[in-house]
């Protein structure tokens, strides 16, 4: 049972901030990290290894057993997205190794590759394939996806005629039906009006509780408490806590400056 599905060892990601070639890499995350005052004696020294550069993530080590859910929490710019992007293989780490045993599905952004001139149905096929399903799998789950999206009446209409709500619902629906052994999930994905957001969150929880290995990030501590067996707190790119969920939430609240 206690098979390791995901193991990460000394992972680090370094960005050269002022280098012109990396101008575009200045995501909100890095800017926030750079302008935020570096607190703590150790953090400041490790990060300012070179001028105008930054460790968005440093020395991250953890393991997740198969079927378990690890919550990743931290303030904006603490390195959560960088960690998920590395594990989703969108970008490569500067140092360290990660081993993933099983197919990886990333639920980090929705609507990748959606084309306004293609119909809803065509976009399901395209987007589904892009996020890692085979065309056969997409077709098998197509009806489910359409039903979840509540766009059934317009599914053969080009999506440029969709309302933004319909567009987001369809985009989320495809992503939510990705099946993989290891899921990387960002709960900010829950989209649409309140009712649909609840539906999204329920779907995400269903994914998490379905015996899959999940890396789950959220700003909603209730969600973290409900579905995670363990938790990691990131602060300025470093792991401030790995292990118990309740303790992790306390650490997170202390970092945020409101201990309750």
């Amino acid at each position: 049972m206690s098979k390791i599905a995901l193991s990460v060892s000394r992972l680090g990601k370094w960005y050269a901030v002022n280098d012109l070639r990396y101008r575009k890499s200045l995501s909100e995350l890095v800017i926030q990290m750079f302008t935020a005052p570096f607190r703590g004696k150790e953090g400041g020294r490790a990060i300012s290894q070179a001028p105008n550069s930054i460790w968005a993530l440093r020395d991250i080590t953890f393991e997740v057993e198969a079927g378990k859910v690890l919550g990743v929490i931290g303030r904006n710019g603490s390195g959560k997205s960088t960690l998920l992007r590395i594990l989703a293989r969108i970008t490569a780490p500067t140092e360290g190794v990660a081993e993933l045993h099983g197919r990886v599905g990333a639920l980090l952004e929705v609507g990748t590759g959606f084309h306004p001139d293609l119909s809803g149905r065509e976009n399901i096929l395209m987007n589904g394939t892009m996020i890692g399903m085979t065309p056969k799998e997409v077709r098998r789950r197509e009806d489910e996806i359409i039903e979840f999206s509540e766009c059934g009446d317009f599914i053969d209409t080009p999506v440029r005629h969709y309302s933004s709500g319909m567009f987001m619902r369809l985009a989320f629906a495809v992503a939510a039906h990705l099946e993989a052994e290891i899921m990387l999930v960002d709960e900010v994905l829950a989209v649409g009006d309140e009712a649909f957001q609840q539906k999204c969150k329920a779907k995400i929880r269903e994914t998490a509780l379905n015996g899959r290995t999940v890396l789950f990030t959220s700003h909603d501590m209730e969600s973290i408490k409900n579905i995670c067996q363990s938790c990691m707190v990131l602060d300025h790119g470093k792991a401030a806590h790995v292990g118990d969920v309740d303790e992790g939430i306390r650490v997170y609240r202390r970092i945020c400056g409101n201990p309750q």
Partner: protein
């Protein structure tokens, strides 16, 4: 467990990833399908656009270089002569430009999902090959109209198109990776394409060139590709064997070095693009 992925630090991932490229073949099909679908769905005359371009070029070149300048054509009607070169060239120009800009043009995909980035290059070259088939049909129509039969050279045409594909692949592996940090490549591309066209025997026969420059000429693999096309479909002289060999060497050189360079760069495309 079905698969194990190991994520390694920049510069430590293995250089060869052919198995992974194969694993992502569905994405390749989808990208090709999307391009064709989008392009031919919204345009009023659809498929005809690709044809119209070829026909207009043929007409203009025939008037200017066939009638006014009167370039020698090995005794063939100028439309057949120019079209047998132009069909190849339009493919090269389209595939080269699109493939070299493919990382930049698909930044939104690169920043959001993982796939071997090279697939974008393969996809745009495949789309250009589909357009080539359309343009090639214009050449066939012209041959029927003028009563020109293909020669034995037609047997060599497919391998030569492979040489053209390899040349484009090698160059665009370099340029597309350079395009990500250096946007100047975008300004250079149209300019390079135009110069490359004049260095290829598109509007003139390669026999016009003095023999002492032939070695330099062979460094451009598109020369022997177009010469083979002329040999096959416009009764031109066959290309020289040693020139073909030099061209193959050039194409392989760019493919191998381009592959290496691309693999070393692609890990951080998402951070820069």
């Amino acid at each position: 467990m079905s698969q194990t992925f190991i994520i390694r630090a920049i510069g430590e991932e293995p250089l060869l990833n052919f198995r992974e490229l194969w694993a992502f073949r569905h994405l390749f099909y989808i990208l090709v399908w999307r391009s064709l679908r989008v392009r031919y769905q919204q345009t009023v005359i659809g498929v005809a656009w690709a044809l119209l371009q070829a026909i207009l070029y043929t007409f203009v070149f025939t008037v200017i270089f066939g009638l006014i300048v009167a370039i020698p054509t090995n005794g063939q009607p100028y439309p057949i002569f120019v079209m047998s070169g132009l069909a190849v060239w339009l493919f090269v120009a389209q595939a080269f430009n699109q493939a070299s800009a493919s990382m930049f043009n698909n930044a939104h995909l690169i920043g959001r999902i993982y796939f071997p980035r090279m697939i974008l290059i393969f996809a745009v070259i495949a789309v250009a090959l589909v357009d080539f088939l359309l343009i090639f049909s214009v050449l066939v129509a012209l041959m029927i109209w003028y009563g020109v039969a293909p020669t034995i050279g037609a047997l060599f045409f497919l391998p030569m198109m492979l040489l053209a594909v390899m040349t484009i692949l090698g160059l665009s592996l370099w340029l597309s990776a350079l395009y990500v940090p250096y946007r100047d490549v975008g300004h250079l591309l149209p300019f390079m394409t135009t110069i490359w066209m004049f260095l290829s025997p598109v509007i003139y026969p390669s026999t016009l060139l003095p023999p002492k420059y032939q070695f330099l000429y062979a460094l451009n693999p598109i020369v022997v590709v177009i010469d083979t096309s002329r040999w096959a479909f416009a009764s031109g002289p066959p290309p020289q064997g040693w020139m073909v060999a030099v061209s193959c060497g050039v194409a392989v050189f760019f493919c191998v070095t381009g592959y290496w360079f691309f693999r070393r760069q692609e890990a951080t495309f998402a951070d820069v693009v």
